[in-house]
């Protein structure tokens, strides 16, 4: 459910009333923490949020995914089978979630390790070479923030100041020294998107 709406309290425009996102990849890629930082930033901007991980043996088996919903309204189901946006970081997740993007929705993926690229014509598709870039810049720890940057470029759900607050709240105090790296990674990600299929 999307619509154009001006935020009454802050001096910028938001485009989304309710954004339903699936983030999926391998355990260790920072899938859950990317979702948590996005969700916590939403809380800081006083939006309604939910963060629903897949948990249990599936996590230990290698794949991890999390459903994040950011909304201006009370959130109904935290568990969904159709999404506005899918952020996909491995092939298994591509196989599972490409078809779960709503028509007109968005798919962002890192092509590293992807053997079958997305083929749908009814959704917007962008690739982001986040793992390559993270490797080059020695920022592999914040690879997930590069991806998040790409997403925020296309869907600025939360303002940068709240992303900063979200990082502060999500990361334990001993990791606060890494916040500048995280923010740098988000900025880098905003410039890395490659449009592959863009709807009018």
């Amino acid at each position: 459910m999307t619509c154009l709406q001006a935020d009454r309290f802050h001096n910028f425009t938001i485009y989304i009333m309710t954004e339903e996102i699936i983030i999926a990849g391998f355990g260790g890629q920072g899938v859950l923490s990317m979702g948590k930082i996005l969700a916590y930033s939403g809380v800081m901007q006083n939006k309604e949020v939910s963060w629903m991980p897949s948990y249990g043996p599936e996590m230990r088996g290698g794949t991890a995914n999390v459903t994040v919903i950011v909304s201006d309204e009370r959130i109904s189901s935290p568990i969904l089978n159709a999404f506005d946006t899918a952020i996909i970081l491995n092939q298994q997740s591509m196989d599972k979630f490409e078809k779960a993007v709503k028509p007109g929705g968005l798919l962002i993926y890192d092509p590293n390790g992807i053997t079958r690229h997305p083929s749908r014509k009814d959704i917007n598709i962008y690739s982001i070479d986040a793992s390559d870039e993270a490797g080059k810049l020695g920022l592999s720890k914040v690879f997930n923030m590069i991806v998040l940057g790409g997403f925020l470029k296309l869907k600025p759900l939360v303002a940068p100041e709240f992303i900063h607050k979200g990082l502060e709240k999500s990361l334990p105090a001993r990791h606060h020294k890494l916040i500048p790296d995280n923010e740098k990674a988000i900025e880098i990600g905003k410039g890395l998107l490659k449009p592959l299929n863009v709807l009018n």
Partner: protein, 360 residues
């Protein structure tokens, strides 16, 4: 406005317990609720509020520690998940019999047996019908959000002490594991021993010269005496049924059909309402918040107004029995359920409504 945080349901109930002035937590690890004790141990409330946090040797020991603490008037809680709650049933029955206040959090998972660690609602009967031996009930609160996990910890303690009865928060693995925005209430100071003794004259706190000794027990070997105990309990349950029913109705004003669902299922049904209404089907949701006391009158009223009800549960059909009893009429009331840790999808629930109620 209270403090805003992004928290897991398990963390929220733990934080809320500290803030509610809880005196003691006793638990045993089990997935998917272990974050409750982990959070408490990490927060070290024994250094701030003085709350005791103890990892017991089993769920059996946990629930009996609860019984011991409750018998001395302390505000105590435990948490577990389905198999562990089964082990606790003896202690819950003893606490109901001895009229002791305590809070139990059940973050349920699929069964029977060791089952799965994924969410389920298959422990409805166990919770609302009195899972242990004897004629007893406990108040059962069913949170549908992380916010309610926090709010119901405080409410649960209030009701437990108001009625001197065990109270259960019947949550599930999804509510326990998911994170949502929570507005936390301001901390309430733990009662001092003097305040406790004044508020709980029934509690075993050490016998002063000026009162009789206090005996906390559920035993009365004389059948006439035991019948009196039961009559007193039943009178209390009638009072609870009169005063403590809680529920929520969403989009029911013009609804022709309604979902009846609690906890996570109710959240899914809210999405189903959007989907169904986009198709032109006038659907609403009735969500019991207290599963015991069950909103009998409210469901009976609603049953007069609608054309059919679909009871959506993550079990093989449990609450539907109470819905049908409450409706007490020939209205079409059917059940849709997924089990063993499978969560139904919103569109799947809409199809069930179309097939089983509207078209069926």
């Amino acid at each position: 406005m209270g403090e805003l945080r992004l928290m897991k349901g398990n963390e929220a109930v733990a934080e809320a317990a500290i803030r509610a002035g809880c005196d003691g937590y006793f638990g045993y690890p089990i997935t998917p609720q272990s974050e409750i004790m982990e959070y408490l141990m990490a927060m070290k409330p024994y250094e701030t509020t003085g709350m005791v946090v103890l990892q017991a040797e089993s769920e059996t020991a946990s629930v009996n520690m609860l019984y011991g603490g409750a018998g001395t008037g302390k505000m105590v809680m435990t948490s577990s998940s389905s198999p562990g709650i089964s082990l606790m049933q003896e202690g819950i029955s003893y606490m109901a019999g001895a009229e002791l206040p305590a809070l139990l959090v059940n973050v349920t998972r699929g069964g029977p047996g060791l089952g799965t660690i994924q969410p389920s609602q298959a422990d409805y009967f166990q919770a609302v019908k009195g899972g242990g031996h004897g004629d007893y009930k406990m108040i059962v609160l069913a949170p549908a959000s992380v916010q309610e996990m926090a709010d119901f910890a405080k409410l649960g303690f209030e009701l437990a002490f108001k009625y001197r009865t065990p109270v259960m928060i019947l949550s599930d693995g999804a509510i326990g594991q998911m994170m949502e925005k929570v507005e936390l209430f301001d901390p309430i100071a733990r009662r001092t021993d003097a305040e406790l003794i004044a508020q709980c004259p029934w509690a075993a706190t050490g016998k002063p010269k000026n009162r009789d000794h206090i005996i906390i027990t559920s035993l009365d070997l004389d059948p006439a005496g035991q019948e009196r105990v039961n009559l007193k309990l039943q009178a209390k349950y009638r009072q609870i049924e009169k005063d403590e029913v809680r529920y929520e109705m969403i989009s029911c004003e013009d609804a022709e059909y309604v979902f009846v669902a609690f906890g996570l299922s109710a959240r899914i049904c809210q999405k189903s309402i959007d989907i169904a209404r986009a198709k032109g089907i006038k659907v609403g949701l009735f969500r019991p918040i207290t599963l015991y006391p069950f909103p009998v009158k409210q469901i009976a009223e609603l049953a007069k107004k609608v054309k059919g009800m679909l009871v959506v549960e993550m079990n093989a059909g449990q609450m539907i029995e109470d819905v049908r009893l409450a409706a007490g009429c020939s209205l079409k009331i059917e059940h849709y359920g997924r089990f063993g840790g499978i969560i139904p999808a919103p569109d799947e629930v809409v199809r069930a409504m179309e097939n089983q109620i509207i078209g069926g």
